[in-house]
Amino acid sequence: MTGKLEYWVKVPVGPIHPALEEPEKFIITIDGERIINVDVKLGYNLRGIEWIAMRRNYIQILYLAERMCGICSFSHNHTYSRAVEEMAGIEVPERAEYIRVIVGELERIHSHLLNLGVVGHAIGYDTVLHLSWLARERVMDILEAMGGNRVNYAVNMIGGVRRDIEEKHVRAITDMIEYYREEVMPKIEEVFLYDPTVEARLRDSGVIPKRIAVEYSAQGPTARGSGVKKDVRYNERLGVYPDLGVKPITPKEFTGIVKGDVFDRMVVRVGEVWQSMELIERAIDQMPEGKIKAVPKDNALLFQLKKAEGEGIGRYEAPRGELIHYVMAEKGRDGPARWKMREPTFPNLFAIARALVGEQVADVPVAIASIDPCLSCTDRVAVVDANTGKKTVLTEKDLLKLSIEKTKDLNPKIRGKPEVVGIGCPRGDVL
């Protein structure tokens, strides 16, 4: 390693770089155009959301959760609501579940159209960017009509939804689906399945084999593009999704082969836009009448939550992959004692960093864009030693020791001695 090291160059991609939509840092070691190693640095977008949440009550956190990320704003407060509902044992009315499906799938359509444009931009194909973002305006208009806002539509409430879907919304959504079916999707398919430039650039770049996808626990389209049949809506029989006939989309149904490259991830996204439109149509047909909130009054709900105790986990398939929220309640407290979320981008980032080794520099932007990274979701916590400024690398053992100390600190009643299990972090030796 020492003999060859002198020819290697380290190039930082980020924190500010035209290829990235949000601040993150990839330190890429290259030999000419070939990538030797990729190091990921996170934490440039920390806003202390969990810290802020400790000073809010359950209902106020809904609006905070929505503002974690602009694109998956619905996914976050949906998952948070699910976690709190599980914790407090609140039964959600069926109509509310259907409304959640409709808004969630609308959000998936707009997120995927956005990502298709971003990937087009990453390979310098700006026409794709402009036209797909133009098409995206239609679904944004629908969301604005329903929620009053283009981005933060504030649909969810713990135990239901805040906004009902009316006849005019159904009409607008049907028109929108018609427009996408007839005008947008044929063009999108033309570009992402058959265009020679796109195929030349996306095929065989940023390949994540199935084994790596499983080992690094890749999520969402990134995993499905590698042929892992993983979709929370299907695997966990989430809400009313089983009644709507959801199933994981893999590129096999479109192109017949699964390679796990950028092209396959894009194919999955195109397929999911089709699937989302079908789901919305079925949800509109099957939607029953009824109430939309389990507890109509907010202060009554807050009172009920204040008495609740225990913990709850919410899972939902966000456009980027599986999103998990964990909520721990303490009796007599009007906010959660602990609120923690796991973002799909986090495992995906390391999977793509692993996949980039051996590829060309030209593939870096498109490979990173292909997992649709959402770092404002991912960065929430960072440890800074302000006094000494000294850098120490914590191993898995240290982290385990620290978490045991913290657990004992929080709850002295817990007795148990967890051991270090498994091989630890799989990227430990790579990076």
Binding site: V9, K10, V11, P12, H17, P18, A19, I30, G32, E33, G120, H121, A122, I123, G124, Y125, D126, T127, V128, H130, L131, L134, T197, V198, A200, R201, Q360, V361, A362, D363, V364, P365
Partner: protein, 329 residues
């Protein structure tokens, strides 16, 4: 006295081409914006950009060397020198026997100076950009040179006053040979030249050295202020001049003959008509190409030059010369 007029004419051409090439940039941005359903910047945006950049402070990186500051000046100087040998609807001002070689040399020199400037900047992005520019520089010239020398050699037989000079293109052109073989060959070469032009101005497939999303403007990464302004102007002139070569080789016809003009009005009419033709060529090779394609990887681009365009150029050249070689008929 003659020398004085030539010098004045040269300065006039320089001012005109600077204006026309920056104007084309504005038209191009507007046209591409309309193709992408956008409004686009105002038509004169490149002029505003240029004036603004000239007035801005230029930041010199700590790790750069002297060549970093000199390269933009050299590049513009090479571009101005190139204008003296550019066919602009009439023969080049200082044209002489064999000036095509000088023309290609100066055109390549601009690219080479960009590489020098980028390599002297000390930025890793610019280094990668310089590597890529160098690789694409040596790949793109082979098909073009084969094509242009075959054409020059072929029209020498038609009886021109100064063989292998750019002025000869206005005396005879390749379409005058007239045999079906030569017309097919010329069409193939036209395609090769269009691809070469796109790679010369680095758009579409060949936006590789400056790849915005990959290398943050690559070779130009560290340039700012007036240094960047000089480079931008040199690049704009280079685009105009490269397109002028394609126009002179394939579409050399002027309008002054039809309008019955002589003297200075004829020159101005031809220059304006030539500008229109250059814009038309650039529209196909730059605007449309840029709107309908993305960037290739460097390996794919090099592959394309050596395994697609060079064979196409060889076939075109053979078809052009096949009747003089006496293989058939």
């Amino acid at each position: 006295m003659n020398l004085l007029y030539t010098t004045l004419g040269f300065i006039g051409i320089y001012l005109y081409v600077s204006f026309a090439s920056l104007l084309w940039e504005g038209i191009d941005r507007k046209l591409v914006a309309r193709m992408q359903r956008r409004m686009g910047p105002p038509l004169l945006q490149p002029f505003y950009d240029f004036l603004k950049m000239v007035s801005k402070e230029s930041i010199i990186p700590r790790d750069s060397n002297k060549l970093f500051e000199l390269a933009p000046v050299f590049a513009l100087a090479a571009a101005i020198a190139l204008l003296a040998y550019t066919p602009l609807g009439f023969g080049p001002l200082f044209g002489t026997r064999g000036d095509i070689i000088l023309f290609i040399y100066l055109l390549t020199l601009i690219g080479f100076i960009r590489v020098l400037g980028a390599a002297s900047s000390g930025s890793p992005y610019a280094q990668i950009g310089a590597q890529r520019e160098m690789i694409i520089l040596v790949s793109r010239e082979a098909p073009m040179m084969l094509g242009i020398f075959t054409i020059m050699w072929r029209i020498r037989d038609l009886g021109v006053s100064k063989p292998f000079s750019l002025r000869a293109l206005y005396e005879h052109n390749i379409w005058e040979i007239g045999t079906p073989m030569s017309i097919i060959g010329a069409l193939i070469l036209l395609f090769v030249f269009m691809a070469w032009l796109a790679s010369e101005i680095e758009v579409g497939f060949f936006d590789i050295p400056e790849a915005e999303t990959e290398l943050a403007e690559g070779t130009m990464a560290e340039y700012s202020g007036r240094h960047l302004a000089l480079f931008e102007l040199a690049n704009a002139i280079k685009a105009f001049v490269s397109a002028s070569l394609v126009v002179a080789v394939f579409f050399p016809w002027g309008v002054s003959g039809y309008l019955g003009l002589t003297g200075l009005p004829a020159v101005i009419a031809d220059l304006l008509f030539h500008t229109l033709k250059v814009f038309a060529v650039l529209f196909v090779s730059m605007s449309i190409f840029r709107a309908v394609s993305g960037r290739l990887r460097i390996t794919q681009a090099v592959n394309m030059f050596w395994t697609r365009l060079l064979p196409a150029s060889i076939v075109g050249a053979l078809l052009l010369v096949i009747d003089t070689l006496g293989v058939i008929a």
